[in-house]
């Protein structure tokens, strides 16, 4: 009987503490796994140097983070959504419907997407057209669209090594895939002239034609990786012929295992991306719920610290990890200081 009494009182204590004050004193953020390492680096330094608790950073993907941000206002919802792609109109509409009217868009810098193979393998110098001709379902041959029959990279472009085509590309749930699709496949589609033929076949409908460009081969030469870059790396380790798609920061942490390929003759690095020479890059963002500024302690300090020159500047720790510093960082700092919410999407 004693045990029963004990458990009942324990239950009561838990219930009491549950219904007690729920004031949250740490910042909560969620979203893109690409932004995650940068966010953790800043969160760690913030916790060390400020009198506020270390912010909690969750991963889960850009879309999931934005969805969580738009769940509503209040301490049970997150303050910041990390995102490796720009917020969508549908997200803004959901936000507005749930009372999240003011969102601040903070661009922290740029991320490069690199193509790399095993360190002991051959050198590659790609163009987007090579990738299109290697991976697309239909390619141009003698002015007509035919099913892709290229077996080796030399079939695609005589200047490339005669190595079997095998590419590990990010799965469709990744933000990286979107960049790969638009900056590489779509660009290659246009460069090879396939886009023109697709548009003509669709009766002049440009959207429909561009969609056709994205159809990749399904005969096993292009493999979607739904996990993270560590999975891509271990797949390359097991398959020395393959070429993988990585984030620049991941490559910089594994330069002893990977050989990076050039794109349009440019070697990817923070410098070439900052200058806009390397074509495959994308901006990284986080979105802040303005209603939480001044409610969650330290939120504004954290955002200001994130975009400060000490952190996101060209010599800061984020750049050391692989983030390409934003040349317009000063404008972002001014925007954060003024707490300007983002306007409608252009």
């Amino acid at each position: 009987m004693k045990t029963v009494k004990l458990t009942v009182s324990a239950l009561a204590i838990i219930a009491a503490s549950t219904s007690g004050a729920l004031a949250r004193d740490q910042i909560q953020s969620a979203g893109s796994s690409t932004v995650l390492p940068y966010a953790t680096i800043v969160a760690e330094a913030f916790g060390e140097n400020f009198d506020f608790p270390t912010p909690v950073v969750e991963s889960g993907g850009s879309g999931a983070g934005r969805k969580k941000l738009c769940e509503g206002v209040g301490e049970n919802t997150i303050d910041i959504a990390n995102s490796s792609s720009r917020i969508k109109q549908s997200d803004i509409d959901t936000c507005a419907a749930n009372g999240v009217t003011e969102i601040m868009e903070v661009r922290i810098g740029y991320d490069g997407i690199v193509f790399a193979s095993d360190i002991n393998g051959a050198e590659f110098a790609f163009t987007p057209a090579d990738w299109y001709n290697a991976l697309a379902a239909e390619v141009v041959k003698d002015g007509a669209l035919v099913a892709n029959a290229n077996k080796t990279w030399a079939d695609v472009n005589a200047a490339l090594p005669a190595q079997d085509i095998l590419a590990f590309i990010p799965g469709t749930k990744h933000g990286t895939r979107e960049v790969f699709d638009t900056k590489v496949i779509e660009a290659g589609c246009e460069a090879t002239g396939a886009l023109e033929l697709f548009v003509a076949a669709a009766g002049g409908d440009e959207k429909e034609g561009a969609k056709k460009c994205m159809n990749l081969r399904t005969d096993g030469v292009s493999v979607d990786i739904d996990g993270d870059y560590t999975e891509t790396l271990s797949r390359i380790d097991a398959n020395k012929n393959a070429i993988g798609v990585f984030g620049l920061s991941f490559y910089q942490n594994n330069t002893d295992k990977l050989r990076v390929a050039t794109m349009d003759g440019i070697v990817p690095s923070t410098e070439t991306i900052a200058k806009g020479e390397y074509p495959v890059s994308r901006p990284l963002y986080f979105y802040v719920k303005n209603a939480h500024l001044g409610v969650i302690p330290g939120l504004k300090e954290y955002i200001e610290f994130f975009v400060s020159d000490d952190m996101a500047g060209p010599n800061g720790p984020l750049a050391a990890y692989g983030l390409v510093s934003d040349p317009e960082l000063a404008a972002t700092q001014a925007m954060v200081a003024a707490e300007t919410p983002m306007g409608p999407l252009k």
């Binding site: 458990t7 009942v8 838990i14 740490q26 969160a43 950073v57 942490n253």
Partner: protein
Amino acid sequence: MTAEATNMRSSLYKTDARTKRRNAAEARFRVYGMMAVGFGVLALVVLLSTVLGSGFSAFRQTFVTLNVPLDAQVLDKQGNRNPAEMAKVTTIGYGNLLQAALVAELTEKGMHPEGMKAKDIGGLISKEAPAQLRNMVLANPDLIGQTVTFDAYANGRIDGYFKGRVTMESAALDSNVSPEQLQLADAMRANDMMAMKFNWGFIFGPDASELRPEAAGLGVAILGSAYMMLIVLVLSLPLGVAASIYLEEFAPKNRFTDLIEVNISNLAAVPSIVFGILGLAVFINFAGLPQSSPIVGGLVLTLMTLPTIIIATRAALKAVPPSIKDAALGIGASKMQTVFHHVLPLAMPGILTGTIIGLAQALGETAPLLLIGMVAFVRDYPAAPPEGFMDPAAALPVQVYNFTQRADPAFIERASGAIIVLMVFLLVMNLMAIILRRRFERRW
């Protein structure tokens, strides 16, 4: 000849064709059995050897021993020894201090490599060290002005060199470390400025970002898991035992209780992610409990563990011989007295075993935690219970998952190290289950 043949067939000493076939079948079955066991053992050996082989190194870490002069000019300009004023000096200031101290010490000992930049020398020290030094000084301002001996973590790549993960060849290709730095590290180790020690920080320290894998630890995750297990135990044991006693001993046997029984068995087989979705909807969105907190994790895991405990408890109650119940009822005990004085104590070993196995299962669960925000970077320790139940925390299996996702190769050994810690916890729990069963088991 024929007579002899019939004689031989009936002899017990000579096996006939049919017996041979039967014996062969048995021998084959034994081989199959041994093969099955052998396969299992092989898989276990491969798993354990890979995990142990790559994970043991996580428990040892390279440290740099440094004499750091804590210059009052740098750390406390006003000279008031007021921690609020001293906090203005950030970790960057402390980092410069450490770098200067290391350069000075190397120059003094004549080990300063010619032409090596101070920044590259400072790169041997972990970025965690400035934060540790700063906390040390802020906690004890009297240290300012003295020269303290400080054990700093060595950079993850240097540590990887001594563990064989980084070689001179790979360093030449690596953008984060140079062969010159490794040569300096060799020289420092020969001069006792660098040493490998057991790393308590890996067990008790908090997680760290990707810039400092050498400092990442499991402290927050262990604490988070412990809090959740406490909640699971306190909630699911009484609820599960009460439910099973009622269902087993008091409830009428009708269609309704049959339905409940089927449902409980079904719930035990429901994928754990479903409980995560339930937790998100009910505990976070409806009840308004904080995200990433052990209380929500504990409640979700309680729901997941309850069916296991109920099934185990009912089996244990059923295993108590009816003669004992009949005897108690026969001398006039009430039904409740019978259950609580006789049946329950006898069923206790079985109940405890079921509970511990249920807890062990909950301890290793990751999927439901994904949805309630516990798969996160959490660096602050949760407070002491009960307030701590509301603070964000990680969990051990989640930490393994987080470590495997990171880009720096040093996290591979830490993931395996975290698996070792998790397995030790599971082993201890399962041993407890076995010992409890052995000690309290009664045979009739």
